[in-house]
Symmetry: C2
């Protein structure tokens, strides 16, 4: 591992979308000192449903870090009941977006607070604290950004594509509506400039619809590009497949090769290191940045912590190399 | 019973507020021919909570007529779960107004439909049908009327008085905000003019906050006063006490004698007959309209049907007497 100079650096900033990102964030939260982790959540897939403000990626992260994520579904709470949805179906209501009884309380309370003038970041932070999350969760922005998916069936709002249409329509591009006017949360920019920042981790999330909306915010992208901390991405593609979600399908539809090297190329100019799975070790020579090869499938909390440690160690090695250069 | 001419008349219009009214409506729905009963629901205690339009009296009636009223609480559904409320409490949300998981679905679906431009009467009718209610439920008006309670603690919105303050503040009067501009649902006026109307029943509901808001709508009050059908009220006060709710407490605070005769006097000029409980038989001579003495406590569905039959028979006798006069 060489001579590490990074002992003095403490903080880690993780950028996360859905389930895979939340898993790595859980690992990072456990292996880092208390308070060292801040996770930035994608809000491009936020939407309004029944007049409620729903933030799927913030919630996946919050539930995961609180320790009650639903391991079966990948979304929602493990201790959930479904009376509301059943009754709504009986009344002929809209049931395409599944809302558990407990989950609904979170959406309602968030909406109430937002309507009373609180910022999404404040609401997110309060709810996380109330649910017992000790690390920090920051929405990528307090401004409104809405991911739209350009498909063969026209431009679809994200949740209509993702949930209602089950990602079936062929994708040709993405619109991050509002991103050009959006400002990153100021604490994200401050964290990226922080001399005590040990690493920025792009979690194994969908590069287009999880990390993509963040990078579409100019202020966030430029802060990331100019950060002195090493930026490490973990491939969401393993052996040509996505562990979960439409990443592989999207890459194919966008005309990209469906492998980890193509993900690394997608992050060209932004990352200092790339973590690929052991099954993809042979791709390393096609990747322009330093590569770390690890078992990246996170089946349980031990896997998450192991990968988290590996990612931090990799970042520390890059820092050390950089200092010696 | 004399010679009945009412055989040709078919329809009954019941005016109902909370639990007691809903019980009698259930009895009427069973003893009358299919389609003969229309129940008018008070909407003065409707309110907005979490951005949802909540109609407590419509819902009590709907759940009762659908056969799944909660007999313990007097509100909500018998097959209810409470995950939402528990989770909301954990998030520090407002929990003073209890919303069950299934009940919440009804409020959400109603709100969605109202926000899409449907009228409350249409929404009420659709929901009742979907829940298997075969008789008709009509809100007193599609316009906005909001009961406010004038108390020693100031003017309180109805649910704040009724639920949050638990009816504790001393009452000096009521404001039916919006009633002066409100129009009764046109089908109510039409029903009251209907030559086939057999009876109008003022259910054993609170005269001030259940029946009061209806009578505060000039068009409804005048249609009631000019209807040719007999108007029968059933006393909500039995032996000087209300079976449920603040009726007796309010009467006392308003300086009224707390008995069935005072309720009859409150309906002076509007009713043609008054039903009192057997325990109150001695009050009959203090009541200016014909009186029928019946067991009026409705412990089960058999009680409800028995009282319903008695009320209809009483109305038929009054019609018959009227015709012979």
């Amino acid at each position: 591992m060489g001579q590490r100079k990074s002992g003095i650096r403490r903080n880690v900033l993780a950028l996360s979308g859905g389930v895979g990102g939340a898993k790595l964030a859980c690992g990072l939260a456990r292996v880092l000192p208390p308070g060292a982790l801040t996770t930035v959540a994608n809000t491009g897939d936020d939407f309004e449903h029944f007049g409620l403000h729903i933030s799927p990626d913030i919630d996946t992260l919050t539930y995961a870090l609180a320790g009650f994520q639903n391991e079966q579904t990948g979304w929602g709470r493990s201790d959930e009941t479904w009376s509301f949805m059943t009754a709504l179906g009986e009344l002929g209501g809209e049931t395409w977006f599944k809302l558990g009884d407990r989950d609904l309380a979170l959406h309602l309370e968030r909406t109430r607070r937002l309507n009373s003038g609180q910022r999404l970041s404040q609401v997110t932070s309060d709810i996380a604290r109330l649910l017992g999350v000790s690390s920090r969760i920051l929405p990528m922005t307090d401004d409104r950004v809405r991911t739209q998916v350009v498909t063969e069936d026209g431009v679809l709002e994200f949740q209509r594509y993702f949930v209602e249409a089950q990602c079936l329509p062929k994708v040709s591009g993405f619109i991050f509506d509002g991103a050009d006017q959006a400002h990153p949360h100021p604490d994200i920019v401050a964290a990226m400039k922080d001399p005590d920042l040990r690493a920025i981790v792009l979690c194994p999330s969908n590069p287009f619809i999880s990390i993509g909306p963040m990078l579409a915010i100019a202020g966030l992208r430029s802060a990331l590009a100019s950060s002195e901390a090493p930026v490490i991405a973990v491939s969401p593609i393993i052996g040509g497949h996505a562990v979960k979600g439409p990443t592989a399908k999207m890459m194919k539809e966008l005309g990209l090769q469906v492998d980890a090297a193509a993900v690394a190329a997608h992050y060209h100019g932004l990352i200092d290191g790339f973590v690929i799975d052991t099954v993809d070790a042979s791709l390393a020579n096609r990747i322009e940045v330093p590569v770390d090869v690890q078992p990246t499938i996170m089946r349980d909390q031990a896997d998450r912590e192991k990968l988290a440690r590996a990612v931090i160690d990799f970042a520390d090695r890059l820092t050390s190399t950089d200092k010696r250069a």
